[in-house]
Symmetry: C2
Subunit: 211 residues, 2 copies
DNA sequence: CCAGAAGCGATACGATCGTATTGAAAAAGG
DNA sequence: CCTTTTTCAATACGATCGTATCGCTTCTGG
């Protein structure tokens, strides 16, 4: 066989280029040629990595999804959760992609979400990422409510329900920041308020204050 | 002069076609030719109505924005607010575009939001619509909190802050429904819960139950 | 050592896009 | 009634897209 190339790393490299270009012109605005140029490979190389453009975009959205969920996870394990509540705050803030550093990632994500409303295979990929994020949030909420005193009264909070709302709020805030309707400070404030109210409803005795 | 045509009505007719096609293929996927066909006019007619494609898309997004805000307004005036709280519920549900009937409108809106993250003039248009919606929500929240007993204690709720969060939540829920991560029932439930908790914080004596 | 499979960059091709242009039809003014 | 101006539909044009194809290089298995 001929020169062996690491296809996996090349695909990732191309996915990075797709993200950079999607950030600039939207995912539909990226061309195979631009991707090749940005990834510093030939057009033919891109074609050999992916059968067609759609496959390339699908791979890229998977790539972004993994990066985001992974970053949330590392953020959680790095600050080893003084309390589940603060961990939840970190996770939510991370998901909202509010930091200016991650503005590009947020734009890419939003662009793919919009595209997914029209492309079912893309939507399927996104659902996987969203389900993972929601489960993660729900788990944190569960931990947070269990870390409190024994919850004597019956059902206090439905973690999945709370996670759904939190995830939707984070996503909505992110898009509003992206189009300039909100400043990132306003968005962060809204997220903060939401979390504080969530904690107030936890059966925990001490009214947590950390964020 | 030659045959006089009503340009304004034609522009609206074309905008409708743009919406229909954006719902199917995304706003970037619409072509001038398809728009002309769908609007049952010639390509030349479309060109005479709008200098170029971008102008056409901008007009279309304005059109959708007006339709949405107007529908929210009429919904409010039609059910003459037994209480400001129920009016707020109606408004939020309407904004979230959760009804299947308005799924297309929601898709169009989401598509334009994503596009706006890349196109500043489009973002400017969207900001206007969002500001109008947020103000409307804030006004309703204000009314709702004033309808209660004299709020003796100081600041109880910041209407603009609550409106921001509510709007973001509605938007996030809508997009999650669109990509199939949530059912419209789950989204409606999340919105409902959020509103109930909002009312619990109102200085109103009677813990309102209507939605 | 060498035949051949696999990877490579470059180019070609057909389709489709937005926009420009063209010539005929139509309505108002003199 | 005829000129003039506006509108119309249709076609032309250049650019750009995704994809297919084609030699040439490069490395491995026998």
């Amino acid at each position: 066989m001929p020169k062996q190339v690491d296809y996996e790393s090349r695909r990732r490299r191309i996915a990075e280029a797709v993200c950079l270009l999607s950030d600039e012109h939207g995912p539909e605005g990226v061309t195979m040629r631009d991707v090749a140029t940005r990834a510093e490979v030939s057009l033919g190389a891109v074609q050999r990595c992916f059968r067609n453009k759609e496959e390339m975009l699908l791979f890229a959205v998977d790539h972004v999804g993994e990066r985001i969920t992974e970053r949330v996870r590392t953020r959680l394990s790095s600050s080893p959760a003084q309390s589940a509540a603060t961990a939840l705050g970190h996770a939510a803030t991370e998901i909202a992609l509010l930091r200016r550093k991650h503005r590009a990632e947020a734009r890419v994500w939003l662009a793919f979400v919009a595209q997914a409303a029209v492309s079912e295979p893309l939507a399927a990929k996104l659902r996987i990422s969203y389900a993972a994020l929601q489960d993660l949030l729900a788990r944190l909420i569960t931990e947070a409510s269990e870390s409190g005193p024994a919850d004597d009264d019956a059902a206090t909070l439905d973690p999945q329900r709370e996670a759904r709302a939190l995830l939707a709020l984070a996503d909505g805030l992110t898009s509003h920041v992206l189009i300039g309707h909100l400043t990132s400070e306003e968005a962060e404030d809204a997220l903060h308020v939401h979390l504080v109210r969530l904690w107030e409803r936890l059966p925990t005795s001490r009214p947590g204050k950390a964020v």
